[in-house]
């Protein structure tokens, strides 16, 4: 068996690629952060790993496109490898952004919040399907506020016309979307959120 090879370093985890019994596997391992107290560090890493795995299982079960889990460690998740490109690294097409809107709509129908729903966490695989990844900040929650914030992140990122396609697809997929969109308006009106753009 070959040694795992580092393929990505994120803010909280390292990604390794390895070949396991002929299949490419990605290992997401949450690394210790030297800057925080050990007790807090262990708790954050353990809770997030467990939480992330739970969410991924639920999504897979509901048929929402995300990487499938193959094995689970205390601080690491072993998952299938998706081959493709991140939406943040390409010109996003209207079909792709609608797919993304549908994914978020379906997640919210299950009361699952992504927590960091941006083009940096959406992959277009080589067969042209959009997948959602990275559930490190995801949670089970019915809260309108948190669902609205999922939309807000995307709204900040996307140009207006692309965002409206995203919102359309989201609304069509999620029955309660009206409430969330109204909440989003409210959230945006609050001083702290005003005129925030990510250039």
């Amino acid at each position: 068996m070959e040694k795992p090879r580092i393929i990505g370093i994120g803010a909280e985890a390292r990604l390794y690629l390895m070949n396991l019994f002929g299949a490419d596997i990605i290992i997401k391992e949450r690394l210790p952060k030297k800057y925080r107290a050990k007790a807090l560090d262990l708790r954050i890493r353990k809770e997030r790993t467990k939480n992330e795995a739970r969410i991924m299982f639920r999504l897979s079960k509901a048929g929402i496109r995300c990487p499938r889990i193959v094995a689970l460690g205390r601080y690491s998740i072993y998952m299938e490898r998706l081959e493709g490109v991140l939406l943040k690294d390409k010109e996003i097409s209207s079909r792709e952004i609608s797919d993304a809107g549908q994914i978020l709509g379906r997640m919210h129908s299950l009361d699952i919040i992504h927590g960091d729903f941006t083009p940096a966490n959406l992959i277009l695989d080589n067969s042209g399907k959009v997948y959602v990844i990275d559930f490190g900040l995801s949670a089970m929650a019915k809260s309108e506020e948190e669902k609205a914030v999922d939309l807000l992140l995307m709204k900040r990122y996307l140009k207006k016309n692309l965002y409206s396609l995203f919102e359309d697809a989201y609304s069509k997929t999620y029955n309660d979307s009206g409430k969330i969109l109204r909440r989003l308006e409210e959230v945006e009106k609050r001083g702290r959120y005003q005129i925030r753009t990510l250039a």
Binding site: A11, K34, R36
Partner: protein, 324 residues
């Protein structure tokens, strides 16, 4: 170019003088908050009473006469209305009398820019932490030079949270720095930790920590509230830095005086080969020097304001402030 800057957005009345980016004077008078927090009207009266003295001290320190001043800047906001008006009126009076250019300055941008200057940072991820604000900023060139907000607190500023907690613990003085002092030797107690992407929230943490007063040791509480809040700030900053591919970290604002927070950010940066830079403490606390510094740069880049357009904006967001 000799430029004077005036600051009075909260409890500090400050006057700074720069000459071609060099700091000639940074004088201030600080209202003592005591146990009540800030009552805007009273703080404003304090500023008005001290304005002339602080200005006099600054001129003396810089060794210049008023006639040598070539431009003036003041803090337009964000801040407390009655307080902001003191620097605004003083600056307008000076500009009118001396017939020199005047520019309104964004308080947050001034904090960030002075940290960039002293910290020798070119294009950092900037963590701006003070009583009222907690934001993660990055410079953007288009359509004009400004800071964009990548992440920020959903509720209260980290400084306000620590100060309120110090008051509830009846620590003296009731500041965030007392929480730091009392955290020595503390053990970690589990408290709510809230980071969402690059945003964070502190009220849940404050509520839980307050519930535990009397049930847990003061040192444990101080250590844990600080550790939890600062870890959240570090994590959000780290994520912003990686997303924007930056290799410099800056920290500014009143809470940037906290040594523990700087130590944590430095350790975080080292994991990514990123350098931490910041200003000396007198420029992290509110001050007029940072206003003078940014005002000079704005005037040099051609920004001008008519006297009648110079007002105050209590909720002046940093991402709407043009810097050059």
């Amino acid at each position: 170019m000799i430029v004077l800057g005036m600051e009075s957005s909260a409890h500090t009345f400050g006057v700074g003088i720069v000459d071609d980016g060099e700091m000639l004077a940074n004088e201030k008078a600080m209202y003592k908050i005591g146990t009540t927090g800030m009552i805007p009207g009273e703080v404003a009266r304090f500023h008005a009473e001290n304005a002339a003295d602080v200005l006099g001290n600054a001129l003396k320190k810089a060794g210049i006469t008023p006639k040598e001043i070539e431009g003036v800047g003041y803090t337009m906001g964000p801040g407390l209305g009655p307080c902001l008006e003191v620097a605004e009126l003083s600056a307008k009076t000076i500009a009118k009398k001396l017939e020199i250019p005047i520019v309104p300055v964004n308080h947050c941008a001034a904090h960030a820019e002075i940290a960039r200057h002293f910290g020798k940072l070119s294009d950092p991820i900037m963590l701006y932490v003070s009583g009222g604000n907690s934001q993660i900023l990055a410079l953007e060139e288009k359509p004009h030079l400004h800071y964009s907000v990548l992440g920020e607190t959903f509720d209260i500023g980290v400084g306000n949270m620590l100060d309120s907690f110090a008051r509830k613990l009846k620590l003296k003085p009731a500041w965030g720095s007392s929480v730091e002092k009392h955290s020595q030797g503390g053990r970690y107690i589990e408290l709510p930790y809230t980071v969402k992407g690059m945003d964070f929230s502190f009220t849940g943490l404050a509520t839980r920590a307050t519930e535990l007063i009397g049930k847990e040791k003061v040192s444990d509480l101080c250590f844990s509230i600080q550790e939890t809040a600062f870890s959240a700030l570090c994590e959000a900053t780290e994520r912003a830095m990686l997303l924007k591919n930056k290799r410099e970290i800056g920290i500014c604002g009143g809470v940037a005086q906290n040594r523990k927070l700087k130590k944590m950010l430095k350790a975080m940066g080292e994991e990514h080969n990123a350098r931490l830079g910041f200003a000396p403490d007198e420029f992290n606390a509110d001050n007029g020097g940072m206003v003078a510094y940014l005002a000079e740069r704005m005037i040099r880049s051609g920004i001008r304001s008519r006297l009648e357009d110079c007002g105050i904006r209590q909720r002046y967001r940093v991402d709407t402030a043009r810097l050059g």
